[in-house]
């Protein structure tokens, strides 16, 4: 007990200070991203307002920099600050939507798998095992490729965001399913579930009203950390050129665009979106780590 006071309380205290800082950073970024239409100086999606004469302007503190574009412009003459704000909005939006999809699919399958047992369980878990033996990014790439093959090419740009959400969402359900299945296996043998079965409550209702509330704790921790992973995956897919189209760039798309100009010395087009992405992901990760430790006293 004393050892715990000596080391871990202090540890926890510093950790939570980091968590508070991370929460503040992440919160500010999310808020700024979602208020982009209000606070951004320009609308980077409005192609009519772009002027190619404004292209390749460096940040204001460099030579040739202009005050109206504080961190410069890209090759289209887009104000980089506005593009980053709007881009972060897309990145965060796609990240959260994918996590919700994963969560929905994974929790549902996990509940059914754990509660039904038998062949249904064996089948779902086998599929999960197979998917789990591939990295999520590969699954997302494949789903993305297949969806592109199915969709008519002229609609692909409009639907790109949905394709992204679907491919990232499908690539992440397994963790939720396994966790929820584990909790369900424990909960379904508890006597309160038997009491509900006794009075003829339907299986669906037992799963949703009785078991699900008792299985959600670890799911929330996974979801927080998963948001960071989903944002990275979105950025990666967009960077690889199979994410959102350049007309409505996310952070990954901006980095991809900037990468082409890295060698001509226009580093800002890549570095600023990259730094934004890194800070965003790092703060969400720290927050998730802290949440995991805080909710699990066994992990110190």
């Amino acid at each position: 007990m004393r050892g715990w006071r000596d080391s871990d309380l202090w540890y926890f205290f510093t950790r939570s200070r980091i968590a508070v800082a991370a929460a503040a950073v992440a919160g500010t970024m999310v808020l700024a991203a979602f208020l982009a239409p209000v606070i951004a100086p320009y609308d980077p999606f409005d192609l009519a307002s772009l002027d190619l004469l404004d292209a390749h302007i460096p940040p204001f503190w460099l030579e040739d920099g202009e005050a109206r574009f504080p961190i410069g412009t890209d090759d289209q003459g887009r104000d980089l600050l506005s593009a980053i704000l709007y881009g972060a909005r897309i990145s965060i939006g796609v990240g959260i939507a994918s996590v919700l999809l994963s969560l929905f699919v994974g929790v549902g399958l996990g509940l059914v798998s754990g509660y039904a047992g038998g062949r249904i369980d064996a089948f779902i878990m086998r599929v999960a095992d197979i998917q789990l033996s591939f990295p999520a990014i590969l699954i997302a790439l494949l789903v993305n490729g297949v969806l592109r093959g199915i969709l008519p090419s002229e609609r692909q740009d409009d639907l790109a965001i949905y394709v992204l959400v679907l491919s990232i969402g499908i690539s992440g359900w397994v963790q939720y399913a396994r966790t929820v299945r584990g909790s369900t296996l424990v909960e379904k043998n508890k006597e309160y579930v038997q009491a509900a079965r006794l009075i003829g409550i339907s299986s669906a209702r037992i799963m949703l009203r009785h078991i699900l509330p008792n299985a959600m704790g670890p799911v929330l921790v996974i979801a927080t950390i998963h948001v960071a992973v989903a944002i990275i995956t979105e950025a990666t897919l967009s960077f690889l050129g199979i994410g959102v189209p350049p007309t409505e760039p996310s952070l990954g798309t901006l980095i991809r665009i900037g990468n082409d100009f890295l060698f001509s010395g226009e580093w800002w087009v890549t570095i600023f979106p990259g730094a934004t992405l890194a800070v965003l992901v790092l703060s969400v990760n720290l927050l998730g780590d802290w949440l995991r430790d805080a909710l699990n006293p066994k992990l110190r």
Partner: protein, 335 residues
Amino acid sequence: MPSIPSSADFVIAEAVARHFDVSKPWLARAIERSPRVFLKAVDGVSFSVAKGETLALVGESGCGKSTVARLVVGLYRPTSGRVLFDGMDMAALPAAERARCRRRMQMIFQDPYASLNPRWRVRDIVAEPLRAFGLAKGRAEIGERVGALLSQVGLSPADGEKYPHEFSGGQRQRISIARALSSNPEFLVCDEPTSALDVSVQAQILNLMRDLQEELGLTYLFISHNLAAVRHISDRVGVMYLGRIVETADSGTLFSAPRHPYTRMLLDAIPDIAMSGRERETTGGEVPNPLDPPSGCHFHPRCPFADARCRAETPALKRYGAAETACHAVEEGRL
């Protein structure tokens, strides 16, 4: 003669059995040439409970008494045999009638910490059967019923707003009882309702159950390994050993004049010097592996009176005065 339960009895178990398949995966079986393995948790159990009566089933842990409780209320389907409730076989009823049947029977569970959903408020826990069976409609009516039920089991209606973790074990068991009573059942199966409680609280709960029985005319099937509790509450007692009933008698007879060697052993284990004055018989040994029970009379490896017949032949329940006993030694007058 094993008693053929009279049709006047309220709840009747007819040679009920429940086997669990605990075999290894089929591939391992195929390679090791091992057979399927079944756990005969309940192996042909018959008994009957009259209306308003309390029948207790006692036995060491692992003897199958909790499985019997779950077979009776229909949480498990019997592998063979059947359970009749007021003349109806639950397993064979159409869905609508089964629901009507379910309302009339309820169960109180052993673990007061696992039997209440920790995420639900007490009022919702108690109201669940009301809603499920449509016994009360609307917030006001349900709230009133829940308040009355909580008062009935000695809690305050205001406790309905709390969560289960705010209560002690005994109070939780009261909530369990309130939930069980909410559908106005006639028959309650109590699966070791007091074994997780402190001794002082046990008596309170048992008294509450007895008062409720008198007040509401309830019929109880009381599962326990606690002979003191059984003696306190039951009219008749059945003793189970490894999935079979070895002796049934009315409570007074069983405790004053046990016949089966196993019953005697159980009674001797109670540290109550004034109880019988009989010389204690030491019966050692552990409960055998239920996957591979002994031949003949399951009890023979631990029985001081066992002979060759006991090892070969399964004894049947036979009536001796007020008791029914399944023992060759008793039948032959060796005991």
